[in-house]
C-alpha cells in the first residue's frame, strides 16, 4: 500500500491543532507506521516550543515606569475626553480646531525621555496619510506660485479659493522661528484630504519645512498630525502666533 504524502503546511497545522478532524485522523493513522512523518511533525512542535520558551518569559519583565505612566496618562485623558465629547454631542468630531489652537512653543509635547518616540509618531502619520518632511531640500510640487503669492500677502484666518475646483487654501497663522525668520502654517483643503504645511520665508521664496497630508475621514490622524506639528514647531522654537498688526508688518507684500 502506498503512503499518503502530507506537505509541510499540513503537518504544521496538525502540530498546531489547526487541522480539520478528517485530515487529522488520516495523519494520526499514518503516524503509526511512518517514522519520518513523526519526525517531521515533531520538528514543527519543537520549533513552536523553542520559540515560545525563548520569547514568552519576556512578558514577566516589568514595563518601564515611564512608559507605564505615559500610557496611563494618555488613557486617563482619553477617558475624560470621551465623556466630554459625548455630553457635547459630537462624538465623532474629527476635525482638529486648528484655527482656535494656540501655539505652545514653551511646552514640550512629550516628556524628554520620549523624544526618541517622535520618530515613531511620525511613522504613525506616514502610515495613513502621506508624510513629507524636508528641510527645504525637496520642494513640494503642490507648492506653487499661487500659494506663494497668497502667503506673501494674505492675512491669517482667511480662506483663499485656489484656481482648481475643490481646493481651498486656509492660512492658519504666522509666527517667527527661533532665528526670527517668518513662517506660516497653512492648510490645503481638498475633498478627501487636508495637507497641513509649515513654510518659512527664505530669501525671496517660501520654503515648506513640514507637510502632513491626512485623510479627512479618519478619526484619529488629525490629532497625531497635530502632535507632529506641535513637536516640529517646538523644535524650531516657534514663537506665539503673530497678531494681525505684526503679521501685516512682516509679510512681504501688504494686502491693501
Amino acid at each position: 500500500m502506498s503512503r499518503e504524502y502530507f506537505d509541510d503546511e499540513t503537518l504544521m497545522a496538525f502540530a498546531d491543532g489547526e487541522l480539520d478532524a478528517a485530515t487529522s485522523s488520516r495523519i494520526e493513522k499514518a503516524l503509526e507506521e511512518d517514522e519520518t512523518l513523526a519526525e517531521r511533525v515533531a520538528g514543527f512542535s519543537n520549533s513552536r516550543m523553542a520559540v515560545a520558551s525563548a520569547m514568552k518569559p519576556l512578558i514577566g519583565e516589568p514595563v518601564p515606569a515611564a512608559l507605564m505612566a505615559s500610557v496611563r496618562r494618555m488613557a486617563e485623558e482619553a477617558e475624560r475626553g470621551a465623556k466630554v465629547t459625548h455630553k457635547s454631542g459630537h462624538p465623532h468630531d474629527n476635525v482638529v480646531p486648528l484655527r482656535s489652537r494656540q501655539l505652545r512653543p514653551t511646552r514640550a509635547p512629550h516628556p524628554p525621555w520620549l523624544m526618541p518616540a517622535a520618530a515613531s509618531i511620525l511613522a504613525a502619520v506616514a502610515g495613513i496619510g502621506g508624510f513629507l518632511l524636508g528641510r527645504g531640500l525637496t520642494p513640494d510640487p503642490a507648492f506653487d506660485a499661487t500659494i506663494a503669492a497668497a502667503l506673501d500677502r494674505q492675512p491669517s484666518g482667511r480662506d483663499v479659493p485656489l484656481g482648481s475646483s475643490a481646493e481651498t487654501l486656509h492660512i492658519v497663522s504666522s509666527f517667527q522661528d527661533g532665528k526670527g525668520g517668518l513662517c506660516r502654517e497653512y492648510e490645503l483643503r481638498r475633498r478627501q484630504e487636508n495637507t497641513v504645511t509649515v513654510a518659512c520665508r527664505q530669501g525671496e521664496t517660501w520654503v515648506p519645512r513640514l507637510a502632513l497630508t491626512v485623510p479627512r475621514t479618519e478619526d484619529y490622524v488629525p490629532a497625531s498630525a497635530q502632535e507632529t506639528i506641535d513637536a516640529y514647531l517646538a523644535s524650531i522654537q516657534a514663537g506665539a502666533p503673530l497678531s494681525a498688526e505684526q503679521e501685516q508688518r512682516l509679510l512681504p507684500k501688504r494686502d491693501d
Binding site: 515533531a42 514543527f44 525563548a54 514577566g60 500610557v71 496611563r72 502610515g127 484619529y220
Partner: protein
C-alpha cells in the same frame, strides 16, 4: 443590537483601560519584532497613542490583542521602511540589545534559548512576525492572517518556512532521533 451605545457603561472594557492592562503583552510583542527594548518601548508608546485615538474603530467582541498587534506591527513596518530609505543604519546597530529574558543564571537551557532568540532575529521579518504571532502570542492562523492582512495560505507557507529555517539555524528542533533513511539532508 448595539453594544457600545446607550446607558451601558462597562467600566472594564474601554479601549484605554484595556490598553493599560495589555501593556506587558504589547511590549513583549514589540521586543520580539524589533529586538531592541528601547525601540520596542517607542513602538508601544506610539501604538497606544494611535489606539486611543482610533478607539472608535475597535469592534467590540473582536479580539483586542489582534487589533493592538496590528496597530503596532504597522508602525514597525513603517519604521523598517523609513530605516531602509534613510541611509545610515544606526537603528540596526542600536538594535543589538538582545532580547534575553533577564534574571536567569547562565545555564545550558539559557544558552539554547539565547540561540533561538538570535536565530529569530536573523529571519526575514515576514517570517519572524508570523512565528511570534502564532507561537508566542498564540493567535490562530486566521487571526494572524487578519493582523497581517494576508491570506491564511500565506500565513501557513511563511510559518512553515520560518520554522524550518529556525530549526536549521538552531539545530535543536528536528526531533530527538535522527533516522538514517532521509535523503541526505543538508546539515
Amino acid at each position: 443590537m448595539s453594544w457600545q451605545t446607550g446607558g451601558m457603561t462597562n467600566e472594564a472594557s474601554t479601549v484605554p483601560q484595556r490598553l493599560v492592562a495589555f501593556l506587558p503583552n504589547l511590549r513583549r510583542f514589540a521586543i520580539s519584532l524589533c529586538h531592541s527594548r528601547e525601540l520596542a518601548d517607542d513602538l508601544v508608546q506610539a501604538a497606544c497613542e494611535r489606539a486611543i485615538l482610533a478607539a472608535d474603530s475597535f469592534v467590540p467582541d473582536t479580539r483586542f490583542d489582534a487589533w493592538m498587534f496590528r496597530i503596532l506591527r504597522n508602525l514597525w513596518i513603517d519604521h523598517l521602511r523609513r530605516v531602509r530609505t534613510a541611509g545610515p543604519q544606526e537603528d540596526l546597530d542600536a538594535a543589538r540589545d538582545v532580547a534575553i529574558p533577564s534574571g536567569e543564571t547562565a545555564s545550558h537551557a539559557r544558552m539554547e534559548l539565547l540561540e533561538v532568540s538570535v536565530a529569530l532575529q536573523s529571519l526575514p521579518h515576514e517570517q519572524r512576525e508570523v512565528l511570534v504571532l502564532v507561537c508566542v502570542e498564540e493567535l490562530s492562523y486566521r487571526d494572524t492572517a487578519e493582523v497581517l492582512s494576508i491570506p491564511i495560505g500565506t500565513v501557513m507557507s511563511r510559518l512553515a518556512r520560518a520554522r524550518k529555517n529556525l530549526s536549521e539555524l538552531t539545530g535543536i528542533s528536528m526531533g530527538q532521533k535522527r533516522s538514517s533513511d532521509t535523503k541526505g539532508g543538508v546539515a
